[in-house]
């Protein structure tokens, strides 16, 4: 067999780095031709090393955050909703009573957001961000995928713990999650209760403007979900300055909602 004949049959023969037997004349050529022998050896090595890449990369936790958000939006996540029943609407009254407390509450929401945002520790992002609790092994050779990702937390770090907000105000009035049956899954996380301010807010809206209650409640859920989402992200990446600013913006949106309501029901 000549070198060019080897070249012609190689695509059929070198497959998956397997030790499948080569034809006799092919084998004997390899024994006598170091170049072809090296080539075949290299190609088999490449094929076998490639297998190790199959599960070598870890996606950033934000991928799950986005998937979960989309599943919720599409209603595919259907955990039981046992929100507390709000005070039923009393008979209609004129919109002249004051809800003076809403103004300081709106200010308090903003101040709480500012406090949370400014008092979070800000470790150096490049090298000292500590990974959250790791429950799956970190690949030995994990490395940032590109120089642009150097500032992000190490991609090899992973956790099975779902993302949850832990800072006030985070009032998603849902029940605790059902206990996990999967051994390797995350521990159950209870959704935070609706904050007293939010409950009072919706109670007053129910009383003063029952026709708008559903609208305000829906918007309140949106802004609270936004706050929780960013807070959860910041819990993992506390050094992300842009996310920190986004959290401030999310609190400002909530304050805006309170202010709009205040203007309506005064």
């Amino acid at each position: 067999m000549t070198c060019s004949e080897v070249e012609r049959v190689l695509p059929e023969l070198v497959d998956g780095g397997s030790d499948s037997a080569f034809p006799a004349d092919f084998e004997s050529h390899l024994k006598s031709c170091p170049a072809c022998s090296d080539l075949v050896s290299d190609l088999k090595l490449i094929a076998s090393e490639a297998r190790n890449l199959a599960e070598s990369e870890e996606p950033a936790p934000r991928v799950w955050v986005r998937i979960a958000a989309q599943l919720r939006e599409e209603g595919l996540i259907r955990d039981a909703d046992t929100r507390p029943v709000l005070v039923p609407a009393s008979p209609q009254r004129r919109w002249t009573s004051t809800a003076w407390w809403l103004a300081p509450v709106a200010a308090a929401v903003l101040a709480a957001g500012a406090y949370v945002v400014s008092h979070k520790p800000v470790p150096q992002v490049a090298t000292h961000v500590s990974a959250p609790a790791v429950t799956t092994p970190v690949p030995q050779n994990s490395a940032p995928k590109s120089p642009d990702n150097a500032a992000k937390p190490p991609v090899g770090a992973s956790t099975a713990q779902p993302v949850r907000a832990t800072h006030p105000p985070a009032p998603a009035p849902k029940s605790a999650k059902p206990p996990d049956v999967v051994a390797s899954a995350a521990p159950p996380i209870a959704e935070p209760e609706a904050s007293p301010e939010d409950q009072q807010f919706l109670s007053v809206v129910s009383t003063r403007a029952p026709s708008l209650r559903a609208t305000y409640e829906n918007q309140l859920q949106r802004v609270n979900a936004n706050i929780r989402e960013v807070q959860a992200y910041l819990d993992r990446y506390p050094g992300d300055l842009d996310a920190r600013q986004q959290l401030m913006d999310a609190y400002q949106q909530k304050a805006l909602l309170y202010q709009i309501a205040l203007d309506r029901i005064q």
Partner: protein, 288 residues
């Protein structure tokens, strides 16, 4: 035969009843208009508030403020007063009102330099060809502002979409929880738009050596600019995709770029500053 005649009588009675009820309903919903006229000095301050109803403001002539209120029922009144250069007009809802019976539409003709404050739950709110400061607020109101110059523009909505067209030379600040924000030919020293889940769309040249900041939480941000735009751009989405469709000159900055999640660069002389930020929305800078 007797049965047939009875059926015919019953049918006729029913038709007559329906006609009568319709006429009565129409009478109760008949529109009535009232006009109010005020004389003001330069830079008057005019406020109009209605829970249900449209408010439309256009420039009038001279130093007159002319208000036309269209009532859909008599379950609502207009409270109005003038204190010097300040005019306040508000819908006063009586018992049993709803969006239909409590509805008043306002049309205003005002001096172009007047300051205007509008508030309506349902809207729409529209303002055109003015030069004073504008403050508009609506829960679900559609807000439309066009051909406004030199004045500051402040808009707040909960879900109502906001459209600004040809607004120049003033501060522009728009906040919405979930309404979409469309800005076409909007320039000024400060143009700031924030929406939680609504999309922000900008079509213009980011001119006037201004400072432009667009922020969303989940809403997408899209900017359509001419080839000769002169601005320094910075865009970042924490979770969403970010891209620009035309080349930018590199820009030295303390902020780190992250491929697919942020970009920064300049175009032309970079006389304006443009900051596009989102938590999970997509951001796109396109060339017209």
């Amino acid at each position: 035969m007797v049965v047939l005649q009875q059926a015919r009588i019953d049918y006729t009675t029913t038709v007559l009843t329906v006609v009568l009820v319709t006429c009565l309903s129409a009478a109760s919903l008949a529109e009535t208009k009232k006009e109010y006229s005020y004389t003001v000095g330069p830079k008057a301050n005019i406020s109009v508030e209605t829970q249900y109803g449209a408010i439309s403001v256009k420039p009038g002539s001279g130093n007159q403020v002319l208000v036309t209120a269209t009532f859909k029922s008599d379950n609502v009144e207009v409270d109005q007063q003038q204190n010097g250069n300040r005019i306040e007009i508000a819908s006063h809802l009586l018992r049993g009102k709803d969006a239909q019976t409590g509805h008043i539409d306002y049309e205003l003709l005002i001096p172009p330099d007047a300051t205007i404050n509008l508030r309506s739950c349902s809207g729409p709110l529209s303002v055109e060809r003015l030069q004073g400061d504008l403050t508009l607020e609506g829960t679900d109101a559609v807000v439309d502002i066009r051909n406004v110059e030199n004045g500051h523009v402040h808009v707040r909505t909960m879900r109502g979409p906001v459209t600004l067209t040809d607004v120049r030379n003033g501060h522009v600040e728009i906040d919405s929880i979930s309404g979409e924000i469309h800005l076409k030919a909007v320039t000024g020293p400060l143009v700031q738009a924030r929406s939680g889940s609504g999309k922000i769309f900008y079509d213009g040249d980011f001119g006037s050596d201004g400072n432009y900041k667009f922020t969303t939480h989940t809403g997408d941000i899209e900017a359509l600019v001419p080839a000769d735009v002169s601005a320094a751009f910075r865009a970042h989405s924490v979770l969403g995709r970010v891209r620009h469709d035309f080349p930018l000159q590199p820009r030295h900055s303390r902020f780190r770029e992250e491929a697919g999640r942020s970009f920064m660069g300049t175009s032309g002389l970079a006389t304006s500053e443009v900051l596009l930020r989102s938590f999970s929305g997509k951001i796109r800078l396109k060339q017209r």
